[in-house]
Symmetry: C2
Subunit: 284 residues, 2 copies
């Protein structure tokens, strides 16, 4: 595995691979890799000849009151994990190179960035679409792999790729969960022992919601009410939102449709730690 | 010369040229080509193996009250001119393909888009940086040629290219003028015979300003006052702005520096027609 930290060197490397006819896959991450990230790398391996994993804790997607400075980092462990999962090039740029002084350009996606996470993190997606644009221009991939865990991010990035005519394919990997159901996240390390136990309720509530939909419940507020009751029964849990939305527009549905699918998603704080999770539910 | 109107076909064509080791140059235009545009194509020819000229009247860089619908168009004449100037591929996408329904993504450059043109056309540069990003992703050039006539546009696009890590070089071509000094512009056809005569004052005022600077005048307001007097002596002229600014930051200078350069720029309306012009003045 080659480790590259300079933008110039990364662009030259990917140009050379492209000229040699190789298919390039990229897996953008903020590091502190877990099995979820490794599943993205494995998926990239299946679609590309050369797999680039990027590690960059992107300041512009954190608000001033958020956890940018304390976000967990362990580049030595990440390097070993990325290599063992099949990464060919690990791209680890510095913040100074990615955002030099007098940095001024942002990519914004309107409308679908306003709801769900956007309501609670109004500048978050601007940071995400900006850094992803930069990473696409630096790594020049044919395919890019993102995790379904960040469901809204997937929708936003797909919209951006289509609108800005990025000539690449977005591949989405399913959520990886702990044995007890908790979705893997680098932020899970923040949880106290008690919060960790309580956090199981998120995946339980999503599975309960799925049962309701499959049993034919058509009223979103009834399902959301039941989820909220389950979650708030945990003493540390504070709900930011629970949503049942159209998976494309991300707008809340007024009734569960008779065919198609809904995205059930939530954000819940346990103490200082904010967790998100979701489930795409198909109605056959 | 090959004419392409589909995004997909353009991307495949440029991919093939790139794989063959060819250098790609792009000249983005809104059509109604004049000698200024042709000079950009000639310059692209000197820097690239394959020259792509794009013609697209970009709706997002016009405000609702501006001249999008009446902007002059003549695709047959443009096709002949583009070919004779040395274009290899003419890319002429449709508005529907560039901005499909539910289009939602914009590229914004902060700060340097607020002054000069930005004061009078607050959404203009957002449209420019968005369409240029799209055209870069579609034509995948090694070099892109823009005209110094749109001085602020050049500064904004260079900032965007640097910030978003586009792996390409921006080349700037000098302003081409009529014999009497008027800078070439597709909008010059709007001018009545009388307005056309009066419009000569713009280049005269810029040359007068240059003389002042070369004679050692250090007070911008004196130079601007003299320019304003010359211009408003023309009965149809209405000044939007006259600025003497730092060529990088675009901020007005408080004094002409002892070394370096200043960008003297202006926008003046003659009847319904708004013209811009500028001069980079070096202080040796």
């Amino acid at each position: 595995m080659r480790i590259i930290s300079s933008v110039r060197e990364m662009q030259q490397a990917t140009d050379n691979f492209r000229r040699a006819g190789k298919l390039i896959g990229v897996v953008p991450t903020m590091g502190y890799l877990h099995e979820g990230h490794l599943s993205l790398i494995h998926l990239a391996r299946r679609h590309a000849d050369v797999v680039i994993t990027t590690i960059f804790v992107n300041p512009t997607q954190f608000a001033p009151n958020e956890d940018f400075t304390k976000y967990p980092r362990d580049i030595e462990r990440d390097t070993a994990l990325a290599e063992s999962a099949g990464t060919d090039i690990l791209f680890t740029p510095s913040t100074d190179e990615m955002y030099p002084r007098e940095y001024r350009t942002y990519v914004v996606v309107e409308q679908i960035t306003k709801m769900l996470e956007g309501q609670f993190r109004p500048t978050h997606f601007r940071g995400v679409t900006t850094i992803v644009t930069k990473l696409f221009n630096i790594t020049k991939p044919h395919v890019a792999v993102f995790g379904q865990k960040d469901a809204q991010q997937v929708v936003v990035i797909k919209q951006m790729v289509k609108d800005l005519n990025f000539d690449l394919e977005i591949i989405v990997a399913p959520i990886v969960r702990e044995q007890d159901g908790l979705a893997l996240s680098s932020r899970n390390v923040y949880l106290s022992e008690s919060e960790r136990k309580q956090s199981i309720v998120l995946s339980s509530a999503l599975r309960r919601a799925e049962e309701y939909v499959h049993r034919g419940e058509k009223t979103p507020s009834r399902i959301i009410g039941e989820m909220k009751k389950m979650i708030t029964a945990q003493p540390s849990a504070r709900v930011d939102y629970i949503s049942i939305a159209d998976p494309a527009s991300l707008e809340d549905v007024s009734a569960i449709p008779h065919h198609g699918s809904v995205l059930i998603s939530l954000a819940v704080r346990f103490g200082q730690t904010r967790l998100i999770d979701n489930m795409l539910v198909y109605i056959p």
